[in-house]
Each structure stands twice: as C-alpha cells, then as structure tokens.
C-alpha cells in the first residue's frame, strides 16, 4: 500500500510538487498522469526515498520513507527515470549485482536475474554488454531490475519510454498481469498508456493534483464539454434567453460581472452557433472567449497518440 499525504517539494526558485495526497491500495494498478515537467518524477523520488519532501509524508505499507528508508525500500522495486545500468557490465551480471544489493544471497541472485530477464522479455540480451544494447533493451533491463526479489510494490517512472510498439505491448501485458497481486504505481505522459494498464489514475499538473479516478470517465468528462464566456452591452439574462434554443449549448448561467458562462459541446462549431444565436436576437457581442476546463487543458498537454512517442 502506498500513502502520500500533503507531499510538497519546494526549491528556492519554484515549487515542484505542491500538497499532493493520494492512497493506493494493495493490488491496484494506478497511473500517475501529467504532461512533461508536471512533477511526476519529483513525486516518485520522494516516494522512493531519493528526495526528502519539504513537507508531507510518504508511506510504504505504513512505513515512513523519510524516517525508515531502508525498511520501506525493501518492499518496492523502482524503475527510475534514468535507468541505473553500468555500461561495462553484461545484463545478467548487472541484474545479479542488483539482486545482491537488494539483499538476496549469491545463489538466489543468480536465479532471480534469469527469472526477471525472462519476465521483461530480454533473455536475448543476457550475456551482452549493456553498452551495446539499444535504449529499449536498457529500459527493459531497468524494468527487470525493479522486479528483482518479487517485491509486493512496483514504482515505475515512464516504463515504456523508448520501447517499440511490440515491446510496449509486452510490458503493458506484464503490468496488467500484476493487477490484484502487486501494487503498481506508474507515471506516464501518454494517455493511452493509462487507459491500457491502469484501473485508476491520479492526474497532476504544475505540481498539483487536479483529478483522480477512472481514466476513461475522466477523459470523457474532459472531452465532453467546453466553457465559453460571453459578454455584451445587453443584460446577461437576455443572452441566456437567446441561447436557450441553440443546439450545442447545454446550459448558460450568469458569470462574473456582466458575463455569461456557457457550457457547450466541444469544437469550434459551437462557437459559431453561439455567435449566430446571439446576433440573430440583435444582441451585441463584445467578448467571447473559450475557457478550458483544467482537466481538458491537461489532456491537451498530454501525448494522446502512441506513434508520437514510440
């Protein structure tokens, strides 16, 4: 189980993570979604004990990462943003070394190294020098590393970065197979990744948590509407009246000052329709602007097409 409580990381120049809280129950596969630079890696680093939070706490199975890091670290496997491989080692030797570092005996480490090579689908790289491996293979060796010792919790920072579509499918299937068995928390800036592997998602932007829940529902919510603010010389109520029979408009209400907030179907056609409906009634229009819902903005910043990234 992972518990994050008001986690904050402040740097002299900016706040990378502000007051983030969430809980991940045993057996859940949860995505941590946000555009690049939103504070995902910083959060994961605080969760794994690499960075100390400015305030707030992170607990792994109830153990404070800051106060008892080693005990907490025994419970999870972590794939950092920078895969910690040594170029001058062979894949198998590296994994054996990492297994021993995680406290496994020499014999168990040998067995584990082979097991995780198989799981991550990189058996063919076993006896090759890491320096000679492709980025995707190194990445999967990093995933294999996280699986060493069969930890109950996996924390993965952008697990499918640098993989080709086949490899992505393999890793997603692997992650999916952990559902119900392991607690998985994976960060990504790719929307389909979350929809493919996660039962729940925590969305972050500019260091703040802005939503949490079922990934598909959130997406529909974000894509299903758009807010438009209009203002003109006439009374706001007259605009609301004028928009009553306008098809793309779901609702209209008074906003700040003399403005009117209109909820409409997404798309530029809605803007045209609103303009036409208002002018048809002979009302003037001095301001018309689209106000993106914060969730929608986030999705706009995300990579929604796989090909762009792989």
């Amino acid at each position: 189980m992972i518990e994050v409580e008001s986690l904050t990381k402040r740097y002299p120049s900016h706040e990378a993570v502000s007051d983030i809280s969430f809980t991940i129950e045993r057996g859940e596969v949860v995505g941590f979604l946000g555009p690049n630079g939103a504070g995902k890696s910083t959060t994961l680093r605080m969760l794994t004990g690499f960075l100390a939070p400015t305030s707030g706490t992170a607990r792994i199975d109830g153990i404070s990462v800051l106060e008892r890091p080693i005990e907490a670290q025994r419970r999870f496997g972590y794939l950092p943003e920078i895969v910690p491989v040594y170029d001058d080692m062979r894949a198998y030797d590296f994994l054996r070394y990492r297994a021993e570092l995680k406290g496994l005996s020499y014999r168990a480490a040998k067995r584990e190294a082979d097991r995780v090579l198989e799981l991550a689908g990189v058996v063919e790289a076993r006896d090759r020098w890491i320096a000679k491996l492709s980025k995707g293979t190194k990445q999967r060796i990093g995933i294999a590393d996280a699986l060493l010792g069969d930890p109950p919790i996996l924390i993965l920072d952008e697990p499918t970065v640098g993989l080709d579509p086949n490899q992505i499918r393999h890793i997603r299937r692997l992650i999916k197979s952990f559902e119900g068995e392991k607690t998985v928390f994976l960060s990504t800036h790719i929307l389909p990744e979350v929809e493919a592997s996660c039962s729940r998602v925590v969305i972050i932007r500019d260091g703040k948590k802005i939503a949490e829940g079922d990934p598909r529902k959130l997406r529909e919510e974000a894509e299903g509407q758009m807010t438009i603010v209009i203002e003109g010389p006439a009374e706001p109520d007259r605009y609301i009246e004028a928009l009553k029979d306008c098809a793309p408009v779901k609702s209209a209400r008074r906003g700040e000052g003399r403005s009117v907030e209109v909820e409409a179907m997404p798309g530029d056609e809605s803007l045209d329709a609103i303009f036409n409906a208002v002018t048809a009634q002979g009302l003037g229009l001095r301001r018309m602007e689209r106000r993106a819902a914060s969730l929608e903005e986030v999705f706009v910043g995300l990579t929604t097409v796989e090909e762009l990234d792989s």
Partner: protein, 246 residues
C-alpha cells in the same frame, strides 16, 4: 554491511575490467621500478654507508615516488561516487535498500584494493634485494604497513572529493589539491621552527614513509592517517545522505 561488500566487488571488477587500471599500474611500475633501479645502482657503486641507510629507505626518499603517488591516488578514487552522480545512477543506489554508509564504505573498500594493487607488485623488488643481500624483514613490514596506512588516508580523501564533485575530473583535481597541499605542508617540518615543526610532523607524509622504510613506524602518523580517513568518510557519508535534501 553486505551491501558494502557487494558494491566493493562490483567496483573492483569494473576497475580491473577497464584499460585505465592497467595504464595506471603500468606507468606507476615504470616510475617505481626506475627509482628502484637508480637506488640499487647508487648503492652498488658507493661503498661505505650507515647501518640505517638501506636501498629500501633510499627508495622511499625518491621524490619521483611521491609525485607519482599524488597523481595516481586521485585517479584511483575519482570515479567512485562522482561517476554515479554524473550518470544519475546514484538514484538507483540510494533507492535500493542500502544505506549511504554502505555505499561510501563499499566504494572506499574498493579504492583500498586499487591502492594495494599498485603496491603489491613492488614486493617483487624486495624479493630481488633479498637474493643479493640481507633484507631487514622488520623494515620491510613497517614500510609496507606505512604504505597501507598512507592508502587508508589517501583513498578516504579521494572518496570524499568524489562525493563532493559532480564530475570525475573535478574529483581528481580536488583530491590532488588536498593531497599535494598537505604533502607540501608536511615538508614544512624541515624548515619550520621547533614548535611548528612538531605539529607539521603529523602531516609529513615524506617523513612518515622514509622513517617507516627505516623500520620506524611512528604511531602518531598512523593515528593521523586513520583519523583523516574517519573524518573524510564521515563527511562523504553526510554529503551523500544530504543529497536527499537538495
């Protein structure tokens, strides 16, 4: 402390798998061997000398030996922690269930092995000497114990420099400055007034080694090297641990 041993073993394998190790050892052995050759010839040609004047002691009086040490010691340690930071692999180390203590001690232990691997081949010189004359075993033991304790201090200084620096080059420069600085300071023992000379004698590596080669291992200097090591390693651990709060 199993973690420290696992880290040390990887570090040692990596060092001896790199060409750097053999270049350093080879150049060092050329310098050490040439100095030894010079001393042996010198002793062969000049007849009367005092009982405490031995080729072993003469060897440890050769400036070239120290110049080489001050250059090579930082090369042995520069990679240890700076490289982990430079590559970002430090994250993988610090998020594995090993403490900063184990990480620093592991790197230090490996560095000591590198240091000993520089010196181990020079035992062969002693073997050659013993073939052609009497060798004072006590002096040999004290000389190599002196070498060992010198490494205890020097490698710790190097590991601390590597913990502080963000690149190997900076680590090497830092360590060289620190080691060469204290070395020169120690030489001040020979020119300073009595009271100051007494203090400087603690850090006088040249005097320490030269006397150790004559069979006198001064406990003050052993204490100096050991406490340097303890302080440097303590600081290195703090530096690594403190990264979390950056």
């Amino acid at each position: 402390m199993k973690g420290a041993l696992v880290i040390a073993r990887r570090e040692i394998a990596s060092f001896f798998g790199s060409p750097m190790a053999y270049i350093v050892i080879a150049v060092w052995l050329v310098v050490a061997g040439a100095s030894f050759d010079f001393i042996v010839r010198y002793f062969a040609e000049s007849a009367s000398r005092g009982a405490s004047d031995t080729p072993l002691r003469g060897w440890f009086q050769m400036p070239l030996i120290y110049i080489a040490m001050l250059i090579f010691a930082p090369i042995l340690t520069m990679r240890t922690l700076a490289d982990e930071k430079q590559t970002g692999r430090i994250e993988g180390l610090l998020t594995a269930p090993v403490s900063p203590v184990a990480i620093v001690l592991g790197k230090y232990l490996a560095s000591l092995v590198f240091w000993l691997s520089l010196w181990a081949p020079t035992l062969f010189y002693i073997f050659i000497l013993s073939r052609y004359g009497d060798v004072d075993r006590g002096a040999v033991l004290s000389a190599f114990l002196g070498v060992f304790f010198l490494g205890v201090g020097y490698m710790a200084v190097g590991v601390l420099a590597s913990a502080l620096a963000n690149s190997q080059t900076v680590a090497a420069v830092l360590a060289t400055l620190a080691l060469a600085g204290t070395f020169v300071l120690g030489l001040g023992e020979y020119i300073a007034s009595d009271a100051v000379a007494d203090i400087l004698s603690y850090v006088n590596v040249y005097g320490h080694m030269e006397q150790a080669a004559a069979g006198v291992l001064d406990s003050r200097r052993v204490v100096y090297q050991a406490s340097t090591a303890a302080l440097c390693l303590f600081l290195a651990i703090r530096v690594i641990d403190h990264r979390r709060f950056a």
